[in-house]
């Protein structure tokens, strides 16, 4: 298993001129916010609407197809909206890489279990027709990123097995500021990179 913050650092380090990230409410966004002070304009930090990261990420390249969108979800949030996998497969244009952080629990509400014994989230993703990989160490995440640079599929999934860990401080920006800055960057991002 990977420490959550380490997995997020790998994503933050990957953000370039033609990529952006959408993150889910809870500890993931808190940690990502702490790691991305130099790339705020490329980050859409969701602080509500559990289960909405995948559809938000799907909508972005419909308008800006040259961008590579990293969509980060937690296992609990993904389970709240499994239909999103089907919609992603059906309509994804451009490039969306879905990274599901799987700690098998609702960590921020006290660690309640999110899945039955033996349940494999990657099987659900794979059954949706999305190419799906599993990461248990940093090298697997880096390999997934390398593969996504040239992969023909518009969408693919990496289920990252992460450990439970205390979170960073809350994001201290108003949501309208986050959205306006992100939207400005999206609209200005050049197809040429």
């Amino acid at each position: 298993m990977l420490p959550r913050i380490e997995a997020l650092r790998l994503i933050a380090d990957r953000l370039g001129e033609r990529s952006c990230v959408v993150s889910p409410l809870g500890y993931i966004t808190r940690d990502l916010f702490s790691l991305t002070s130099g790339a705020r304009e490329r980050c859409f930090y969701c602080m509500g609407s559990m289960g909405s990261v995948v559809p938000v990420a799907l909508g972005i390249p419909l308008g800006r197809p040259h961008l590579h969108v990293f969509a980060i979800e937690g296992d609990g949030s993904l389970l709240m909206n499994l239909g999103a996998l089907v919609t992603l497969r059906r309509y994804c244009r451009g490039r969306v890489s879905l990274l599901v952080f799987d700690n098998r629990c609702y960590e921020s509400t006290g660690g309640q279990p999110s899945q039955p014994e033996g349940f494999k989230l990657q099987d659900i993703c794979s059954a949706s027709g999305l190419r799906t990989h599993v990461a248990t160490e940093a090298g697997h995440v880096e390999e997934f990123f390398r593969m996504r640079e040239t992969a023909p599929e518009p969408a693919a999934v990496l289920v990252v097995k992460v450990a439970v860990a205390p979170p960073s401080a809350r994001a201290d920006e108003p949501p309208d500021v986050i959205a306006a800055r992100f939207s400005k960057w999206l609209r200005g991002a050049s197809p040429e990179g």
Binding site: G48, S52, P55, V56, G59, L62, R64, N81, T87
Partner: protein, 153 residues
Amino acid sequence: MDSGESRQLIEALNLCGVGHLIVVPATGMELVCEHFEARGACLYATREEEAVAIAAGLSLSGERAAVIMAQAGVGNALNAVFTLADAYEIYFPILVCFRGKEDPNVVQRVSAGRTHLVLEALGCAEVSWAVPAGAEEFKRLVNNRQRWIKCRL
């Protein structure tokens, strides 16, 4: 919605520059969906929260989107509308198809009665597609960033 009313709504959406329609299938919207499908601009979502979030992503990227849902789906949509679209001030219109007291399904009549009150509390506007000025009225509402717009079927 008959064909004349559907044409009015299509005209209204075009007048507002709506590039993508995000739909949770609702009775009465077949012709409108077909029109957008023909240009590859109609996406069917699996539920209402998802439709709202897709429209949010599109809007952030600079595309104008509109969401269409049945009145029975309004409750499903509220969390995404409140904590994503409203909280982040991401604008797109949501058209709610309403059959009201005439709905042949008795359960939907109960739902419509309750949802009507919810929409009223949310400041929902209504456009009549039976009059020629419907498209212009819709455009005025969209220019004023009206979120909820009721379409009576």
